[in-house]
């Protein structure tokens, strides 16, 4: 089915390319060329045509075309049309005298835009106009001068809403690939940082940027990514998620094998670690690859906080992933199959609660988890004004009423609530979703086989994760295969001076001057005080201040 569709698409694109070649191209008559372009775009009203005359004695007809909204109005007005109209007399004279190539003259002498080139290919011209560039057509030439005037309205850089930090940079990516590249370049001022552009999507022709650090990133990896991106023959690339699905190693797995982020500092850090970054125009979510399991439990904040705190935060995240996966299923296994393991007083308490509830624990958990998923989905996609209502209805009414109605035991509500909260503690949203899906499988296994099912489920889960690879990198590395040297930034987050490869802390810290004396920097203001101290006796300054 899929192959059929794909070949169909290819046929179609071949067709359109064929009709493109048959379609009217640029003509030497200006009006005809304009007509052709307008016709190609279906006489779209946002295609603006500005006709000008160049020269005074033998004026040459010319026209500047751009799509309003896509092009930056100021640069079109001032630097393209403005410079065409401005002091035409002088150089028109020159033109008539020596009669050189008019477009070349325009390029070299007249146009004030930063980037302009002569383009003869019809498809390229159309693409440029559709990207927001301005095309200058000149009567008598079958070419166009493409001036870079891309602009228009974009969102300004603001804090990313998907990955919050308490401490750390507050800028986030936006929808424009150019801005995003600049946000990264601003962080890594290195000539090793490489940028490659490509256009993906046969219809959307989306700008996709690939960035990596030369000499740090593995050459084979870069080549592999480039190859996989170039193989994409999709019609549409509207979000980095489209690319993610097309270039990831394995489709049938709940686990994400490519990381995405809205944060430039995360991207910069990953670039420096030798990963490749793919930026798609039109989305603030940037892809980072390869991505291994542990990466989804790291947050930008880990590096901003003290290392011991960062380790604590990471352990909390891993624990909450385990709680998310196994919380309800372990509860079911205990209460249904292995109740001898529960301390007696608690067991009596549980049983007295269960007495009023008609369902087995498994059905209870399934009902509650289902309700929770509905609440969560409703909460995410709802207009903000109603959000409050949902949380009130969800938390208060469902939570307590369901217990009072005798459908669910209170302890099950606790378990489900804990699981739900645990799913929010995982920094990567797509990893949390993976956990949420797998949780239901464990629920089923625990309901049918107790701990036996859970253990076998865990074995199969670990085996599955072991079979995954992200661009050749085993998904569970550096745990499996075990590499002790790479444990510095997994569950642990060692102090920065320990993480630098091949350097001793002495080398890194060598530049630090040794502070023997504590000076406050306000000595001049405190002069009388210090004098007094001196008078009192020859005390070291540090001690004096401590007093």
């Amino acid at each position: 089915m899929d192959t059929k569709r794909r070949t169909g698409r290819q046929l179609k694109s071949a067709d359109s390319a064929g009709s493109g070649s048959r379609a009217p191209r640029l003509s030497e008559v200006l009006a005809e060329s304009i007509e052709n372009i307008q016709g190609e775009l279906g006489y779209s009203p946002d295609l603006k045509v500005r006709k000008v005359e160049i020269g005074v004695e033998n004026p040459v007809q010319a026209a500047a075309l751009h799509l309003s909204g896509l092009a930056d109005k100021t640069s079109v007005n001032e630097f393209v049309v403005g410079s065409l109209l401005l002091n035409t007399d002088g150089w028109a004279q020159e033109y008539e005298d020596s009669s050189p190539d008019l477009p070349a003259l325009l390029l070299s002498r007249i146009l004030e835009v930063g980037e302009a080139e002569v383009q003869e290919d019809w498809n390229d011209i159309m693409l440029a106009v559709l990207s927001g560039d301005t095309a200058i057509l000149i009567d008598g030439y079958t070419l166009a001068i493409i001036c870079e005037t891309r602009g228009g309205e974009t969102r300004s850089v603001e804090e990313s809403s998907s990955q919050m930090v308490v401490r750390g940079p507050k800028d986030g990516f936006v929808e424009s690939v150019g801005t995003n590249v600049s946000l990264i370049r601003r962080r890594i001022r290195s000539s090793k940082l490489r940028l490659e552009f490509m256009k993906l999507g046969t219809e959307t022709k989306t700008h996709v940027a690939m960035m990596y650090m030369k000499e740090i990133a593995n050459e084979d990896l870069v080549e592999e990514v480039r190859e996989r991106l170039n193989r994409i023959a999709n019609e549409e690339v509207l979000e980095s998620g489209y690319l993610e699905e097309l270039i990831q190693d394995k489709t049938f797995t709940p686990f994400p094998t490519i990381y995405n982020t809205e944060r430039p500092d995360v991207v910069a850090g990953n670039l420096l670690e030798g990963r490749v970054v793919v930026i798609v125009d039109g989305t603030p979510f940037v892809l980072i690859l390869p991505a291994v399991f542990t990466q989804f439990f790291q947050s930008a904040e880990d590096y901003a906080q003290r290392f011991d705190i960062a380790i604590l935060m990471r352990i909390v995240r891993y624990v909450s992933f385990i709680v998310l996966l196994l919380g309800p299923s372990v509860y079911i296994a205990f209460t249904t199959y292995h109740y001898e393991m529960i301390p007696t007083t608690l067991l009596i308490n549980l049983l007295s609660q269960r007495e009023n509830v008609p369902f087995p624990a498994f059905v209870e958990a399934l009902l509650m988890e289902g309700a929770f998923e509905i609440l969560r989905e409703a909460g995410v996609r709802m207009p903000r004004a109603i959000g409050q209502t949902v949380s009130v209805v969800g938390a208060l009414i469902l939570g307590s009423a369901v217990v009072e109605a005798g459908i669910i035991t209170p302890i099950m509500v606790i378990v489900i609530a804990l699981t739900g909260i645990a799913s929010f503690a995982i920094p990567a949203y797509n990893m949390a979703i993976a956990g949420r899906i797998i949780r239901f499988a464990f629920l089923l296994l625990a309901g049918m086989f107790g701990f036996y099912g859970i253990t076998l489920g865990l074995i199969v889960l670990v085996a599955h994760m072991n079979s995954l690879r992200s661009f050749g990198l085993p998904y569970l590395s550096p745990f499996v295969p075990l590499s002790v040297m790479d444990q510095k930034d997994t569950i642990l987050r060692l102090p920065v001076w320990l993480m630098e490869p091949g350097q001793s802390p002495q080398q890194i810290r060598a530049e630090m001057p040794e502070f023997k004396q504590v000076t406050s920097g306000h000595e001049s203001e405190l002069a009388p005080l210090i004098k007094k101290n001196e008078n009192r006796g020859k005390q070291p300054k540090g001690e004096g201040e401590a007093k």
Binding site: M341, G450, T455, L456, V462, N466, V480
Partner: protein
């Protein structure tokens, strides 16, 4: 499958889990009474000697599994039936272990679940993992060795804290002389679990290092022997030799002695977990050995044979005995009637053939 090479650490952990397997929870070597721990160690030494025989064969043919060099050494006509017999042996061993495991599970916790369902779940998970490849199996073993060891340390700590360990129960050592210990070694311990290392002859071609590999596996055997021996000593010192002898799964009552201020008690679910993990890896290794043999012998793709072999193992396990007692009796008999043929006699013949061949084909000076 062809070119996969598996790291040493993964092989080590696979060996450990394979050896611990079912042996960790059963009353291993109890013919020797309270000296069972000693018979395990001696059994391991015997097992290591046997294993070194297999290693000799492996080093002569580092790229071939066992079934391949039987045919090379004995000729196709004699070698092929032998190879087929080995494949049947591996499937049978997998089936027997599956039966062991699921019955023990049924005894321990899952009293009401049909045996067939328990076995099916186990063998299907095993099939899934093997479908992903041998490499995935060995890598998974690394993770679960850590879990098993953590559970071990945790339980030992709790046992010590709850004061249940009475070391005097291990005394007197060698009450009836060395006789019962040797008897236990001859009847059981050199073969179970250490003789079962024969199936590693099928996996060793995937070792990433011909020189160090066998040493790593031998170290795995030794470590697991120490662990098994320590566990048996622990069982006896907690329960006393009498109870251990009569209990089919002595580790369960041992662990259930744990009780700390009435809150942490009955943590025997951990034993069940260890049991499940052990059985899983034991069955999977035999399963893998059978699969490698089949795909090598009949030149079939490895993946295509996974599910047929799954069915065969499942039905072997269900049909080999009418009851668990019969199953155990059968196993006891097989242990010193049939298995020595496969684990000692045939390998010895192969070693002799190899030695003679290499003696005659060796380039002579002058």
């Amino acid at each position: 499958m062809g070119k996969v090479k598996i790291g040493l650490l993964q092989f080590f952990t696979l060996t450990v889990l394979f050896e611990l397997g079912t042996a960790l929870v059963v009353n291993l070597g109890m013919n020797a009474g309270r000296d069972a721990w000693m018979s395990i160690l001696i059994g391991c030494l015997a097992g290591l000697v046997m294993f070194w025989g297999y290693v000799y064969l492996y080093r002569k043919h580092p790229d071939m599994p066992f079934t391949a060099y039987t045919r090379k050494l004995l000729g196709t006509t004699a070698g092929t039936p032998v190879a087929v017999m080995y494949i049947v042996l591996y499937m049978n061993l997998a089936g027997r272990d599956l039966r062991d495991g699921s019955t023990m599970l049924a005894m321990a916790t899952m009293h009401n679940t049909p045996l067939f369902i328990l076995s099916m779940l186990m063998i299907l998970s095993s099939a899934y993992v093997l479908h992903k490849g041998l490499e995935v199996l060995t890598r998974t073993s690394l993770m679960f060795t850590i879990i098993v060891l953590l559970i071990g340390v945790f339980s030992l700590l709790l046992l010590i804290l709850s004061g249940s360990i009475k070391l005097f129960r291990l005394l007197p050592v060698l009450e009836n002389g060395i006789g019962p210990v040797m008897d236990s070694v001859v009847h059981q311990n050199y073969m179970f679990p250490f003789g079962e290392m024969i199936c590693f002859t099928m996996l060793m071609p995937y070792l990433s290092d011909v020189k160090k590999g066998p040493w790593v596996i031998a170290a795995g055997m030794l470590i697991s022997a120490l662990l098994l021996s320590a566990t048996m000593a622990l069982n006896i010192s907690v329960l006393g030799a009498d109870i251990v002898e009569r209990s089919p799964l002595p580790l369960m009552p041992t662990i259930s002695k744990i009780s700390i201020s009435d809150f942490i008690q009955r943590v025997d679910i951990f034993v069940v977990m260890v049991l499940i993990i052990g059985v899983f890896f034991k069955v999977s290794v035999f399963f893998a050995a059978a699969l490698i043999g089949i795909s090598e012998l009949f030149n079939l793709p490895y993946r295509r044979m996974v599910y047929p072999v799954t069915l065969m193992i499942l039905f072997t396990s269900m049909l080999d005995a009418r009851s668990f007692t019969e199953h155990l009796n059968e196993g006891g008999r097989l242990l010193y009637t049939v298995y020595p043929l496969f684990m000692i006699v045939i390998p010895v013949i192969l070693i002799i053939v190899t030695a003679i061949r290499s003696y005659f084909s060796a380039p002579r000076p002058g």
